[in-house]
Symmetry: D2
Subunit: 356 residues, 4 copies
């Protein structure tokens, strides 16, 4: 058979395959199985000022209520083809609540966390438990937990929402349910959080703990504890790069099965080793200023800025002022599926600003 | 502000948001969080005759070797927009090897299983261990295990390949590596499988077992064991619907962290309860004939036919001849992430063919 | 054969068996396998005044140093035939340290806990980490951890020591090693405890935790946390009987694999349900006064008194003043071996003091 | 104070302590905490001929029935002060059943295993499931499983019983219950074992498995599987010392939470490394002849002989004929409590019989 004939035969074969909903591996093997991950998501930074201004504008223009459910502004990674996702597994958004506003109760399979960048006087009710939200607090709304948000202040408030929505949707696993007429809310506001009363004690647990291992029973992690822990761990380890994880106090692992919440304190003048890791993350600058280099591309940041870090990108951080970074990642998914891999590319020199 | 002005303001807001790579949740909440899963994948059946004919044609037209790597014909779910995936998490393909052919050694993050529908005389070498492949055998090539395929017969052979490739790619977690010049293959063919010698004994394990819990250390599950187990379990339980799982004999869970392999034997005349489950699967008809109804749509099947079952579709099976079905699913992923949910919609009447 | 002959034959058989180091089960089956546990240990109470006076006398008469190792007065259960053990699995003792005294460093397989009933100014160094000991503090010295005790005050001090020594010895598993010449002690005294800096934060863990799961990495549990937890848990549950466990913050289970440490707060006027449980415990009255009934025998107690509760004894507590009880038990052993069983014999009436 | 006066004071103190049920640690520290384990149990060997003759005599002299329960001849370690225990944690006995005899149904907390040295035609019914007992079979009667023994042959039969009775009694955890009038036995004899039908398939489990993790669901491990596994593992590893463990096929760990069952095949001419391990064991010679040295003391053995190995004794085996040894140990207890320690004292030369 000559070449043309063979080409024609092949074309006929591929056409027949296409009609049968069959595709050849051999023509696309390199694309399907690249030597290393080729994320469509790109490294990106959203500026706090920009996002806040848009959120405030939305606060003026858009009501909150059933149907829209939340006044949340999603960080849409430009590499993801128009999807409102920060990375292939993580949704990140700023949610804006006007003074005395409430967002209606609902529940969904996608798990969420709320991390508060500034303000106070708002609370999220999780399965009937009001959880106070002030700067630095982390609130969980685990999979299928009923939840709503209430403002008890005269100021608007904004916080960060992180969800595993892209993952849950990609697995076709998502359910959603608005609260019905008979849903009782404790709109009176939080005095104390019941789950914190039970579970926020170091090395101490009630004799009877929840049977479920689907998520942490602790719904709110208060900033006073996180800040003290950061300070003490940094001092005890003598490290300029201290990292804490928010965990399930009953089982010891990540607070949620699909997302890792961590807080990292990096001292001014410390440049972290260039590292790449399988799995993606969103980094929220809680305080401090500095620069992060992702796959060679520098991003300068300050408080409230948000970074998307795709899988297997080489990353290092170099704060100019001591920085506290809240990091949300899909690490529990990657590790649970035994897909974890990390590579340290370069140990950076620890450079402290020299005195003149 | 009148309505038009407000619309204009909103349009301006959304435009500004778009420029900032920000999207509103409230305009797409219902799409992002539907009441229940809305899979893009559709229920589908690929006919054995069709696939086999195409595979044989490919056997004549397409060589196997480095680059294309494998003569694998992927089952492409028509709902997935042209992707060569059977479901959002599972790759399914028929691989065709001509007499005395070999497919070159490589390894990749995506885990694979091979299930043999017919024939004998081929083996897959997994990390240097030759694993025989005859009708009914299941061979694992876990994540990052080196593997290649060899034919030692004068007949072409075809088998089913299942991979977690869509999942691994969706998580940007995939690495691929072809074997180098120095890769030594045991092309002499299998006499016995070392991992079966160590791990294929009921209730018995070597005193020293592998440290890893990343996958089963047993690389091949022979049909003689599977068939005996099916027969004995069906007899012991008296059930017309017996299901076996292929497990890691050291840790007791699924053989692979990302895919469940199961074998199901359903008696003629037994109609299984209509059930829907979060997570997707590929069903391969090993023997028997019958009908499966998926979300109301009937599919008639016989040996070698392959079905794709998207998440949360209502499914029942009704064999006309006692059927043995090999089922590959993403259940370990769904369960590990605590996203599992199952609903039995209808207990079918158990109808046995009435004697005239 | 007549009866006498048969008796003679049997006697001969038993004699031959005895010579061969063989014993008949059938002659002692009822003793070996009673219908329910028949502990040799008896319920017992040691009075604080008595123990303290003896400890103080020992403080005057007996030096502390290598060989004797510790000035510890063991609570010897009268049922255990002269053994210095409170129960078949637990050693309980009061340890007395004079002003400015030190007890020498050693380590042993038996794990120990120290619970402080009164005083301050002493510390225990655990693997080089000084752990402060004030009223209500719990200090762990896990299996094979180096440890010594130092007084930095001008007053004598006494605390409770609990060890799994009877268990470890019964299993022939015990090793002991005195510290050598080169052992470096941090006799300068505790400023802060390193393990508490790392691990005593609610729901927060360092990103890098110890690889071992042999015991909690947290060596000291401070009373301020325990007291707050008791108060908050009691308030949140509305229960007159709140129980806390001291846990390993990394793995979530008991702080030690062989002993459970718990703190129980029972309100005045609350009589707990009469309950029996497989496994034994030592109860130390931290504060309050009341009565405990063990297998029908009443024991009146006040601060510092210690109770031994053998396995399967029916127990209820009835404080006259709100009581805080430190409870050390072998529950992790019993549960780990799947021997746990609990029976509630009677729900007591909750009687609050009636107004005049 | 002069010396005599001081001695008198001390004597008075110790007397007062004794009256208060208090004991000094410092006078007995070395005994309570020796440098390494000092077992009271001694290395011992019981000869098969001796035990069998006594068992047969008991078969003639002693009936089996309610009260005595079993015609079991316990191996009583001479070091244990007259207790009928082989080691501090393990009961070992030979049980003798005359032709057509039955031993009555009961259950107890202590778990048991039966290992058959010779014969066939007897079965043990475990929770209603008849388990055949032929040479080499292992039958479990887990904690609180109802069980009785039946002979369906015209020959007497004898087998080895191993129980965790000393451990369970030492923990005051034992319950015993004879079967009542309404207990239904399946005295018809075993055709097949239901648990083997469900669980004795290599790498295969039913989709629905028992909820309990208290013990293996598989009640009988047949010799044909054990023998094949021994042969294949020895061949695959090329080791002259192959060891298999009997495991729970659902959870992967030891078949029972308190006892490890293992089978070891040591080739003639192979001398095993001298090793000592925390924990005790009973070794039963299934086949072969050879010598074991325990703490320097040689024991020559042949089929049916039984050895007691106390904790931390140095042990090596040197078969003259290839030996198969059934080993029962308390390793799961020691490991579960994190008390495990092993030391290899000497790598023996592997000496194979030289050809003349």
């Amino acid at each position: 058979m000559n070449l043309n004939a063979r080409q024609a035969d092949l074309a006929e074969l591929y056409s027949a395959m296409g009609q049968a909903n069959i595709q050849a591996l051999w023509t696309q093997a390199a694309d399907l199985m690249p030597a290393q991950p080729v994320p469509r998501a790109v490294p990106w930074l959203w500026r706090w000022d920009t996002v806040l201004a848009l959120a405030a504008a939305a606060g003026r223009e858009v009501p909150v209520g059933r149907g829209g459910e939340r006044r949340a502004l999603a960080l849409a990674n430009p590499g993801l083809g128009g999807l409102p996702f920060a990375t292939p597994t993580l949704w990140g958004a700023m949610q804006y609540l006007n003074a005395r506003e409430s967002a209606p109760a609902h529940r969904h399979t996608a798990a969420a966390i709320r991390f508060v960048l500034q303000g106070r006087g708002v609370w999220t009710t999780v399965n009937g438990e009001p959880c106070p939200m002030s700067r630095g607090d982390l609130v969980l709304t685990p999979s299928l937990a009923w939840h709503e948000h209430h403002s008890g202040t005269d100021e608007p408030m904004v916080w960060f929402d992180g969800l595993d929505l892209p993952l849950v949707n990609g697995l076709d696993a998502g359910f959603f349910e608005p609260a019905g007429e008979d849903y009782l809310d404790t709109a009176g506001g939080p005095v104390t959080s019941r789950s914190a009363s039970l579970y926020a004690h170091p090395g101490l647990l009630p004799a009877v703990t929840p049977a479920t291992d689907r998520h942490s029973p602790l719904m709110v992690y208060r900033w006073e504890h996180t800040e003290r822990a950061l300070t003490e761990v940094a001092a005890a380890t003598g490290s300029g790069d201290a990292e804490l994880r928010f965990v399930d106090p009953v089982h010891g692992g990540d607070a949620l099965p699909t997302m890792r919440c961590a807080m990292r304190q990096i001292e001014a003048g410390c440049r972290t080793p260039t590292t790449r890791t399988v799995g993606s993350s969103i980094i929220l600058v809680f305080s401090g200023r500095g620069q992060t280099v992702i796959d060679g591309q520098p991003f300068r940041w300050g408080p409230g800025d948000t970074l998307a870090v795709p899988s297997w990108c080489a990353v290092d951080h170099e704060p100019a002022q001591t920085a506290r970074l809240f990091v949300l990642s899909d690490a529990p998914v990657i590790e649970g599926l035994r897909l974890d891999r990390t590579e340290v590319l370069a140990q950076q020199q620890k450079v402290r600003a020299a005195a003149k």
